[in-house]
Symmetry: C2
Subunit: 303 residues, 2 copies
């Protein structure tokens, strides 16, 4: 089997018949009440109680949803907020679930030896990086210098998703500014397509992908055509207002080339309106939600 990241992602999609990425955004205040009560009853400092609950929560979510997902996407900020102890917990979660595909949502951006240091945090050739994952998200504002230190890893077995058009309301502040006749985001997409030429997999996709928010499906159609060989990681469906029925704006004609992230809509599914699950059954609720979104995407993208 090819070690190329894009090929590995395609294989994961096919194996679980799923384009669903489960986003791990653990916020203590949103965890199920019974879990928080168990945490609070322990004779531990508050930050350790919270990390204990987050570890339990994430472990249950990963085990419940793994077979319905093609990858997991931890948002590192929710661990970094606890400083070193938060990252130690994230390290543990990654090590305990090495069988899954992991996309670290870190949106780093730097250059030279600093970019090399970030790459060393997340990528290694022998699996020895402390926060070893399969791919990272990355902010393109600093240009090619910021990506260059990662390219040897992308040519081997790692992946990267560059922010092109983000899902938030003010993403247009800079990403929509017209450069010549085209918005900045389209120029970024052109570069992503070009920079990824050296890390194409056997299935025709590149290990340098892009992030395009579900909230901008018309923009997505344009970006899709500019960079047909790029995998698109799509945040913003459901909770942020993106529509499942627009999923086809992000894929190629054969329904390939895009994966869709669900964070709150899956991991806090027990809280969703009309849920039949109680807070003790949060993992079952997440499992059902992941299965539901897998099916909804497959239906929307049936060609």
């Amino acid at each position: 089997m090819s070690r190329n990241f894009a090929d590995r992602l395609t294989a994961a999609i096919e194996q679980n018949n799923s384009r669903v990425v489960v986003g791990l955004d653990p916020q203590y205040d949103k965890l199920p009440e019974p879990l928080r009560q168990r945490a609070e009853s322990q004779q531990l400092p508050q930050s350790v109680r919270e990390l204990w609950a987050i570890n339990e929560f994430c472990t249950q979510i990963i085990e419940a949803t793994g077979e319905f997902a093609c990858a997991f996407k931890p948002q590192i900020a929710f661990f970094e907020r606890y400083g070193g102890h938060g990252l130690l917990l994230l390290e543990r979660l990654l090590r305990a679930h090495r069988d899954q595909l992991w996309i670290m949502d870190c949106k780093r951006s730097d250059i030279g030896s600093t970019s090399e240091a970030y790459a060393a945090a997340y990528f290694s050739t022998g699996g020895s990086a402390p926060l070893e994952v399969d791919a990272v998200t990355h902010n393109p504002y600093l240009g090619h210098d910021s990506i260059a230190p990662y390219l040897p890893f992308l040519e081997a077995d790692k992946g990267m998703f560059l922010l092109v058009k983000t899902s938030n309301p003010s993403s247009g502040d800079f990403q929509d500014l017209l450069v010549g006749d085209l918005p900045l985001a389209e120029h970024v997409a052109q570069k992503v397509d070009k920079w990824g030429e050296e890390c194409l997999g056997a299935r025709g996709y590149s290990s340098l992908g892009m992030v395009v928010g579900a909230t901008y499906p018309e923009t997505a159609q344009v970006l899709r055509r500019i960079a047909p060989r790029c995998y698109i990681l799509v945040p913003g469906l459901e909770t942020q207002g993106g529509q499942l029925s627009d999923a086809g704006c992000f894929t190629n004609e054969d329904g390939g080339g895009a994966v869709f992230n669900f964070s709150r809509a899956v991991i806090y599914a027990y809280q969703s309106p009309g849920s039949t699950f109680g807070p003790e059954q949060y993992a079952s609720a997440a499992r059902e939600a992941a299965a539901k979104y897998r099916e909804a995407l497959n239906t929307a993208l049936k060609t």
Copy 2:
């Protein structure tokens, strides 16, 4: 004394008569040979040996250069590469030197609750954030949404420097693209000036500053005029090719409004050509270099 960050930075500049920011970029392979030998002689795992040496090195550098600097700027990537243990060490260094002004070079970028989580990692109202610092660097690509969660902290006592024009050769890939008649970086500077209006200090400067690389002095003159109330954090002098004689391009006419970062040129000064210090005297070499750059900047900016 005002708690506003811009006022606190101005006070630090005046107190030490210095516009020098000392950048802490600890790379184990570049540490002085005798220090690495002491580390390697210990019965510890390699990553712990390296962290032991980095802790010793940074502590000596901070103590040797503190009186010649207005602030310290740790590059978090060099700690993050060691995962959770690296951040625990950085937490310790910050706690041990709370008397200094700290600018975390983390270049984060995210939105909503994720941006709030980053803010909680670095900023608190009571000094309780695990990686509590006085200011952070930030990447503006996601627009105002990514900054909004930080603004209440900036209106109190914290600061932020947005990347506008970075020092690296390929910074022009996107930052120089013409939007209308003006490069993207100038549009970003206009926004920084506007977004910082709510956090002006008593001395007329805003706690929302910008990063402009020393390698682009002509661009800096334009950006300086666009955002006269912003502090500019200037990386790239010396090691990256920026010239001390261009320092005036980054300041206002009175010589105020800019601070200049020196990382390798100070912390690894014992390795510089013509250095009279041996590797055991790395702290003295750093001290002399910080004093030298303080004087050189003050001379260049004498009005």
